[in-house]
Structures are given as C-alpha cells and as structure tokens.
C-alpha cells in the first residue's frame, strides 16, 4: 500500500496519530493554540471505530487526574494543553510520576508568564525538563520540529512511557501546533485487548482477578521506604539518560560554529544556517529531539570542533543552561531569543551569530 500523504496542522496530526496508534483515552480542556487536538478527536468520533474514549473535562486539573486514573488502570491515555493549562496539570503530573505510570501530556506552548499570549513560545522548557511539579522527577520530553514529528512522537512517547513506566511529554509550540505540512500518518493498529493490557501491566488496577490486589499510590509515610522509592526512580532516570537521548545534526561535519535549537526554532535556525553558509560561514545545526534526557554527550563531542555555540530559543535563555552544562565551558556559548510570542526570522539569527560569536 502506497503511503498516503495528507496536509494538516500539527495539532490535528496529534489527534489522528493517537487514534491510529490505538490510544485508549484522551481527556482535555480547550485552550489556544492547541484546541484542534480535542476538536479533531470530537470530529473523528473514534469511540465509534477504535473504541477510544474522548472526554472534554471541566478543567485541566480534572483532565490530568482522569489521565492519572486511566494510566493507573493500565490504559494508554493522554491529555493536551497549552502553557497556562499545563501549569494547572502539574499536580497531577507529579502524582503520575510518583506513582510511576505511563501517559502522554502534550504541551503546545504559548507565551507567558501568566495568561501571557496565545502566540508561540518555548518558555516552558524549564517546567518540562526540570520537574514542573513538586518532587524529584523527570518527564521524558520530546520536542517535535515538524508536523510529521507531531504524528510520529505520539507513538514514540507512549513506547517510552510504557517501557519506563514514566509520563512522557511532547513539548511543541504554537508554530508546530498551528502550521500545516505534509504528513504521513502512522499505520492504524488495534487498541490492546483486555488480556494484552493485563499482561503488559501486571501492576495496574484492572480488578484483582487471579492475583493479589494492586495499589496505585505515590504515598509512603515511612521515610526509609520513601527514600528507596526515590532511589529506584533515580536509577530509572539514569538508565533513560544513558539510553534514550535523541538528536539530529545537520551540516555539522565541517562546522566552525554551531546553532543549538529545538522545535520551531530549529526550523528557523536551519534556514539561517543555509543563508550563513551561502555567505561562507560554516555553521552546523544541532537539534535536541529529547529535551530530557538532554543529548549532552553528542553535543559535547560536537562542541570540540567549533569556535562557538549559539543557542536559539523562543525564551530568555533556558535550554542554554543544559548546553553550558554539556560543553562545560569548552567553547563560548551565547543565546539568542525572542519573547512574548515573537518568532524571529532567519536574518535575526545570522545577525546574532555574527555579533555575539564571530565578531568577538
């Protein structure tokens, strides 16, 4: 069967990919610029085809707690929102991480702080990669840079989430959510049967048929046991950090300067890189695909050959801290960012590269 290429928004691709990947439940609340996820699911009516549950919750708080319940029962469940809504979800995300449950949270970022703006931003990088809610935990954080990756990362996020029993996040931004591109959707696959869920998730609250009762909780009052639980989670995070970092390099082999950017900024940076190369400046693009775990090792390796690194983000400098930690002051690391919903054009990136690194 020939691959079917369709044109759609990033948000729509998330919805279609979720249905096709056999997701059991989506629980969401409308917020710009991601409402097309819920709207597309409502329009597609997957409950009539795959049996997927789609529910508009009364709040982001309720939606993430529906995900908590569903995930605890072994189902493949997700929610999506945008920055202010994701702030509201942090309590639930912390519980889900603490109870070690798999789920997917999509954040199509908009500018903040507060109600901010509905225009694109990448200012939730810290929130996504450094915790967000209370306690020592991490989300597996994937940063799509295209509509194709919006579709592809739904499946990838769930695979990683179930592999490690840890919540995963797709950290997109308003540009990726709203722009339309060609996309090849994943092949449809059936949802898991009850037997398959019970086999895959022997820990889940599916009803204690033929086994001892299962308990899903993040609570433990004995500090000695609680420390052990935390150490177990930290060991898991170490394993994820060692095995699951992902990145893309474009034109890095002969690069004298490196741009590090994720999501929509990587697309802009790629165009800037091409323009710079036309002017004879050898620039390469390093794009982290997983923001947590951060691809520190390959970035440190690549940094050895360059004279400087420019980190381009739609924020005032968040991922730059991980870049600096990765390269450990071996090369100058500068930042260029636009705030408040402004998306830079490639020329601004080239100017920043010249002014902050090359002319120095």
């Amino acid at each position: 069967m020939a691959e079917e290429v369709v044109l759609m928004k990033g948000n729509e691709a998330i919805a279609h990919a979720a249905i096709r990947f056999g997701v059991d439940g989506y629980f969401g609340y409308p917020i710009t610029p991601q409402s097309e996820v819920l709207e597309t699911l409502a329009e597609q009516k997957p409950w009539e085809t795959t049996g997927m549950v789609v529910l508009q919750a009364e709040s982001e708080v309720a939606a993430i707690n529906m995900v908590y319940g569903g995930a605890g029962s072994g189902k493949m469940v997700m929610t999506s929102s945008s920055s202010p809504g994701v702030s509201l979800k942090q309590e639930g995300i912390s519980y889900i991480a603490g109870a070690e449950l798999p789920c997917l949270v999509v954040n199509v970022m908009r500018g903040g702080p507060g109600l901010g703006t509905i225009q694109p931003s990448q200012a939730d990088y810290f929130q996504a990669t450094k915790g967000g809610g209370h306690g020592d935990y991490h989300l597996i954080t994937l940063a799509p840079a295209s509509v194709q990756e919006m579709a592809d990362f739904v499946g990838l996020a769930f695979e990683l989430a179930f592999k490690y029993r840890n919540p995963a996040m797709i950290l997109a931004d308003g540009v990726i959510g709203q722009m339309m591109e060609k996309v090849v959707l994943p092949e449809p696959r059936p949802r898991r049967t009850e037997e398959e869920i019970i086999k895959q998730c022997p820990w889940a609250t599916t009803g204690c048929k033929g086994r001892k009762p299962n308990i899903i909780t993040s609570l433990e009052l004995d500090p000695a046991i609680m420390e052990k639980r935390n150490l177990h989670m930290q060991a898991k995070y170490e394993e994820i950090q060692a095995k699951e970092y992902r990145y893309e390099e474009i034109d890095c082999n002969d690069a004298e300067y490196l741009i590090v950017a994720f999501g929509s900024c990587a697309r802009i940076a790629q165009k800037a890189m091409e323009h710079a190369r036309e002017e004879g400046v050898k620039v390469g693009l390093f794009r982290p695909i997983t923001l947590w775990p951060f691809p520190s090792k390959p970035l440190a390796d690549r940094a050895k050959q360059v004279k400087g690194i420019l980190v381009v983000e739609l924020n005032s400098g968040q991922m730059i801290e991980d870049v600096q930690l990765a390269v450990k002051c071996s090369v100058p690391v500068e930042h260029f960012g636009r705030l408040g919903g402004i998306v830079p054009d490639p020329d601004e990136v080239i100017d920043a590269l010249k002014n902050k690194l090359i002319k120095k």
Partner: protein, 257 residues
C-alpha cells in the same frame, strides 16, 4: 450451646467480610470509617464483584483505605477522586468503580470534580463521609462545619460573617441531571448501619446498570476532632448534625412515581 457447637460453620451468624483484611486500622476509636469500610467490603463481596472492583481513596483519613480493603485501589490527589473514577469507568465499563471521600476532599478542594462527575452521569458511586471537620490534618474547619461549631481554624466557632456557611453537597447533587441516586445515611445505630448498607448496595448496582452517578453521604462522627468520647460524639451528631443534614433519600430515579 457449647463452644464446640458455636464454632460449627452451620451455626455461623456473622463473620468479618473476607475483603476486609487483618491490618490494624489507623482510625480513632468511635470513628465511622471502620464501619463504612466494612459495609463496602460486604457489598462488593455479596455482589460478586471482588475481581472487578476498583476503589479510589482520597486525601484525608481514608487515604489508606487500600490498606484495609483487599481490592484494586488507586490513591487520588486531594479532591480529584471522581476524575480518576469517572475516567476508569469509561475505560473499563464492566468494572465496579467507586470513590470514598471525606468532606474536605469532596466538598471543598474537589467541589468541581465532584459536581462535574455527578452531572456527567459517570456510572460510579461516590461514598461521602461527612464529619464536618478535617480529621487527618488535626481538626480544622471543613466546608461542612456547622455554624457555631469550634475547630482548630475557627476556635471561637464557625461564624458565617467570617467563614461563610456550611455546604450541603448532597442537596446540590440531587439537583443534577446526571445523578441517579442521592442519599444521606448514617452508621450510628445497628438499624442505621443496615440502611446504609442497603444504600451502598443500591448505588453500586445502579452504577453497574449504567443508570448514572450515585452519591451516598454518610453523616459521621469524628470523636478526636470533635474532642468527645465516641458515645458523646454519636449523641452530639444526632442532636446537631442530623437537624442540618437530615437523613434519607434525596433523589432516586429508579423508583417509579
């Protein structure tokens, strides 16, 4: 009858429900939780739903419900139990799903989740323990604390001018289209315990028959929080709680009119 006769299985008149395990309960003497836990265990067992039951415990005194009931349980964030339960029921329609929540959890921080779950007609049962006080955190004012009642955060008595009025969540629930069965019970006498058990059974059966959401409030004592002996707490409840929270069915759509 000799002791040997008494312990013969055919002479058995009462036994601890099998789903209630032997873990020592952390509940205070005189607390209603132990009785209600027992009723829940009995009903699940009598319905033959042991292997299909999923309970959601709250934040509050009943947070450790899962330590005493031998069924699958999830522990929710404060007030969010109905969100978990409603989702699980939609994802597992043939399971018996219920929440077990106190008044602080259900009527205060979880007001939105409770009302919306009930109004959606989630086919679940919410068991609502109303003792008009925050028990686990040490006796602070609850949304259901009676006017004039003294707690750690209203030590001179609840004053509506300062603290607002006690909230009747069960009355609110009865006005919601999605609810099937809304009732207020108590467990202060043997007769009341029997009635409460019937109510829980009815609610659970409704939820399995897809009739809508069910709320069973149990007006309860908190002898520690109220600083009374268990006996005095029961009496105080009858004299002060029941006039404001009258017992009985508030809504039952299964009864033909």
């Amino acid at each position: 009858m000799t002791k040997e006769d008494i312990i013969k299985p055919e002479n058995l008149v009462y036994q601890k429900p099998r789903l209630l395990n032997d873990n020592p309960m952390h509940y205070c003497p005189g607390c209603s939780h132990g009785v209600v836990h027992k009723l829940v265990a009995e009903v699940i067992e009598e319905m033959g739903m042991t292997e299909k039951a999923i309970g959601i415990s709250p934040v509050g005194c009943a947070v450790f419900m899962y330590n005493y009931l031998d069924i699958d349980c999830q522990e929710a964030a404060h007030g969010r139990a109905p969100a978990l339960a409603g989702a699980i029921k939609r994802l597992w329609p043939d399971r018996l799903v219920f929440t077990y929540q106190g008044d602080g959890d259900l009527a205060c921080i979880g007001t939105a989740e409770t009302i919306h779950s009930l109004n959606r007609g989630d086919n679940i049962t919410i068991i609502f323990i109303n003792n008009a006080i925050y028990g686990m955190t040490g006796g602070q004012m609850a949304p259901t604390t009676l006017v004039g009642m003294k707690t750690a955060t209203c030590p001179y008595g609840r004053d509506p001018e300062i603290h607002g009025y006690p909230m009747k969540m069960t009355e609110i629930a009865a006005t919601l289209r999605g609810t099937c069965y809304v009732t207020r019970q108590s467990v202060h006498t043997v007769a009341a315990i029997r009635k409460a058990k019937k109510a829980i059974r009815k609610a659970f059966e409704n939820s399995m028959q897809g009739k809508g959401s069910n709320l069973v409030e149990i007006v309860s004592t908190c002898s520690s929080g109220w600083k009374m002996t268990p006996e005095k707490a029961n009496k105080w409840m009858e004299e002060n709680m029941f006039p404001f929270y009258p017992l009985g069915d508030l809504k039952d759509t299964t009864v033909e009119k």
